[in-house]
Assembly symmetry: C2
DNA sequence: GAGTATACTTACCGATCGGTAAGAATCAAT
DNA sequence: ATTGATTCTTACCGATCGGTAAGTATACTC
């Protein structure tokens, strides 16, 4: 059962890292979740950093594969974009811990290590920007501008995702349910307004 | 010079909390920045939590005062909204540490303390939502929907703000400068597209 | 059935954490 | 000159941190 324990450790670590961050997470606690000692964990992952890196790598892999999959679902770049963003929202709701972790990494990576790890979202982002620039009317949009358009949408999604718990506590549950229902609809509107802002020259 | 040391401690603490989070920050290190021992810090702030709370309180105060100020600069709600969001972006560029800290709090507050502190952004958010609902054509928009509209814009701004350091490392400085220049322009476009989506019934 | 990885455990390390207690330096008011 | 805050210091506490070293139980191989 070599991989079994490893997988469980990774799952527990993801939860902890997402909830309390790299510094706030102790490997002893992670191992404790499986009723193991921290040395058992250190057997599978030599250092805390290694564990963290592996957790992160898996998430970013999954994200990239996801976007590539969304691209295949339609031929129209405009439709692809809508799929990507809506799907991204769905994914963030499905596994909110992933989003929390990625945002934490965005905040931490500069201070925790100077090793300037290549950023998990870079290929992911570049891919989406390219899709946008295939939309009729957007072919000539310059790269920094296209980047901003995409990044604003990503920001909307990720920020809402990490706000979930807090918003849930702040508003009555019925109000918050309405908010959660409205969000994807408003997100779709935002995407469509953007795409409609440059009418394709036919 | 009672307040002097206190202020300096708060400034140093803000920096550290923003960079490394609550857990990653040690009070000894904060005090060390002023060449003091941690007990000097503990004299001014009985507990680490108190220091953190005070830092947070000041930032959220400043934010709320800022929005109220932006409202006064115009009579047109549509113009007020644009001022608020563009100003929010400017503020996040001016003191990026504040934004980082607030996002960290968004991620941490549920796990670090169950005491469900009243959320710093709530009055701030409510204020902006009300401004939106004063815009001609938006008076009848239901609250959850208006909330989503506002929150998407806030998310765009804050997420970009915390990405600053990472993006700066990922892209060549000239590319990134163009991105930074384009962002507020695209942000304004986003606001205007939103406001134009419900033409006022005249 | 002896040898050998595998997957753990106990024992221990130095460093650092937040926090308490008690004392010392500074300064103002009496 | 004495008292009494104010503002720090040194000394110390128990707990926990990530990590090393060495031993052990299990299970598979030859």
């Amino acid at each position: 059962m070599r991989d079994d324990t490893r997988e469980q450790l990774l799952a527990a670590a993801k939860q902890q890292f997402a909830e309390k961050g790299f510094y706030g997470t102790s490997i002893a606690q992670v191992a404790g979740e499986l009723s193991l000692t921290k040395q058992a964990l250190l057997y599978h992952f030599k250092r805390k950093e290694d564990l963290y890196a592996e957790v992160l790598r898996r998430i970013s892999d999954r994200l990239l594969r996801y976007v590539e999959g969304a691209e295949g679902r339609s031929d129209e770049p405009a439709q692809q974009l809508e799929d990507i963003f809506l799907g991204l929202y769905a994914a963030s709701r499905e596994s909110p811990m992933d989003t929390r972790l990625l945002v934490r990494e965005l905040l931490d990576n500069q201070s925790r290590a100077e090793k300037a790890r290549d950023w998990y979202l870079l290929p992911f982002l570049a891919e989406i920007v390219e899709v946008l620039r295939r939309v009729p009317g957007f072919e000539e949009v310059e790269l920094p501008t296209a980047f901003c358009m995409v990044y604003q949408l990503i920001g909307s999604i990720e920020y809402f995702a990490i706000s979930d718990a807090t918003l849930g506590k702040m508003y009555d549950s019925d109000v918050y349910e309405r908010i959660r229902d409205d969000f994807p609809r408003e997100l779709r509107s935002q995407v469509r307004r953007l795409l409609a802002s440059r009418p394709p020259a036919i």
